[in-house]
Symmetry: C2
Subunit: 295 residues, 2 copies
């Protein structure tokens, strides 16, 4: 079975764009025309699904991947979960690599159930996972991924302001996120693809370029998923810290900066999906410039 | 608004049983008669819902609370999520305190969406939360809980074998779980109820009585949710380490030891719900004896 991180890297190279579009689709991102008759949770979930479909139509060929943030779907109970899964199926059908940003974590037996939910017979290629339970909470995801050609991204150093509260605690002379990085490297040692990166990646925020550079330098087989670009304050130059010297090894997430770009003065007059495509092209340019400067 | 931990403690006192029944309802726990025609995810989710309803009918009046483990429902996509929410509604209607064991965690804006999903207009009284993102990933849950009379349990020291891998790392002379305990105490300081315990509790495994005793001694306002009793190896005496000197301050989870008790030789000949009730009475006795010995 082909390594999913090889597939992701090939798709990134194909479109020359290491960007993942974050479908953190909040109902207030939608134009009023799409929501004015959406009163119930079911209606809202359907409107969000329709919005996502058009975004996918516009973004395929420009970005290689979408990341669906579960929280914005769980808000609408089972209707929302159906919207999330329908969105995943549509993105998959359109040739995109699909990430479920669920940050699941539990003891072994329960992690097996989560792995069954997201990494067996599903349209997700990757899910995000929280490392707090340690290896027996991670192994079921790694095993299911290996069996089914899927992967995981484990939280290492997050992008939010208080992430350092636990993640930067000193543990024997290094910050906790570095220790977690070592574990991620070890957990993925058996699933390294032909491009040299494993199917067990790390989440490393663009808001902390110094930490990202350290992690990048030390863990050469770990592919990074980089949140925090755009609305959270990270710029191309910050995100570039997560890339290797050849401009590979990472993919940068942008959510509202793409999917709600039409609310930005810069893209005025465009539809939301035209604006998303235009913003994705602008982001590609910003990243490519930063990666060139980074070499 | 009444503090949810006060409500929980009052219910525990009413039935004299600090037990929460874990509805980690795996399809293979169900008798064959209930599953032989359940082929689709929708059928299976419905069978699980029916199983849960009868368990709730049998357990109410014996145990004060149920904890629903999300993973076993997410396996059945949106059908499973509906089963989970239907189960919560039924338990709530029957006067039980309802916990969603979802271990959610994310950056602030996304944690707000999760808080909206589980702590606004829902039948859940508590959810479990992972501390890895630090305070801005926790605050939305604390705020929503304060507004709506609900609470959270934050993972401190889990019950699984590899939990120590991160949670026992030394951070400045104390293990990480102790540091997390301090944070939990601080995060809940504004929501302490009349019984002296806050609406921000901690998950502390019964499989680590030494750690639990330390945590109990130091954090007098933090209520503990104690997994690991039964199938994971914890006994009444181990669970007792999480209780205060008056036999309060904690609630002990048991999942398959109750909900699949009918598969145990001891309860042979009983229906699954009769066996669950009998096992819950046996567990109450075990805990009460241990708490007496503990004083």
């Amino acid at each position: 079975m082909k390594n999913i991180t090889d597939i992701l890297i090939d798709k990134i190279n194909e479109v020359q764009n290491p960007t993942v579009a974050g479908l953190d689709t909040r109902i207030d991102f939608l134009p009023e025309s799409m929501t004015k008759n959406a009163k119930s949770a079911e209606d809202k979930a359907k409107a969000i699904t329709e919005y996502n479909y058009k975004l996918i139509d516009a973004l395929k060929g420009i970005v290689p991947s979408v990341k669906i943030q579960s929280a914005y779907y769980e808000m609408y109970a089972h209707y929302g979960v159906k919207a999330m899964n329908d969105t995943a199926a549509y993105a998959k059908k359109n040739g995109m690599v699909v990430m479920a940003d669920v940050k699941r974590n539990d003891i072994g037996a329960t992690a097996e159930a989560y792995a069954a939910a997201y990494l067996e017979d599903s349209d997700y290629d990757y899910i995000t996972v929280n490392p707090y339970p340690g290896y027996d909470g991670i192994k079921p995801f790694v095993d299911a991924g290996e069996k089914n050609g899927k992967g995981i991204f484990v939280l290492a150093r997050m992008s939010n302001p208080s992430a350092a509260e636990l993640q930067n605690l000193d543990v024997g002379g290094e910050p906790l996120y570095m220790r977690v990085g070592s574990l991620i490297e070890k957990w993925g040692a058996s699933v390294i693809g032909k491009h040299g990166y494993s199917a067990v990646g790390a989440v490393v925020g663009a808001t902390n370029p110094t930490e990202a550079k350290e992690l990048r330098k030390r863990f050469k087989t770990v592919f990074f998923l980089v949140p925090g670009y755009g609305a959270q304050g990270g710029k191309g130059a910050d995100a570039a810290a997560s890339f290797d010297e050849k401009g590979g090894g990472a993919i940068v997430n942008n959510s509202r900066g793409l999917i709600a770009a039409y609310k930005n003065e810069k893209y005025k007059g465009m539809t939301y999906y035209e604006a998303a495509a235009a913003a994705a092209c602008d982001m590609r340019e910003d990243l490519m410039r930063a990666l060139k400067d980074n070499r």
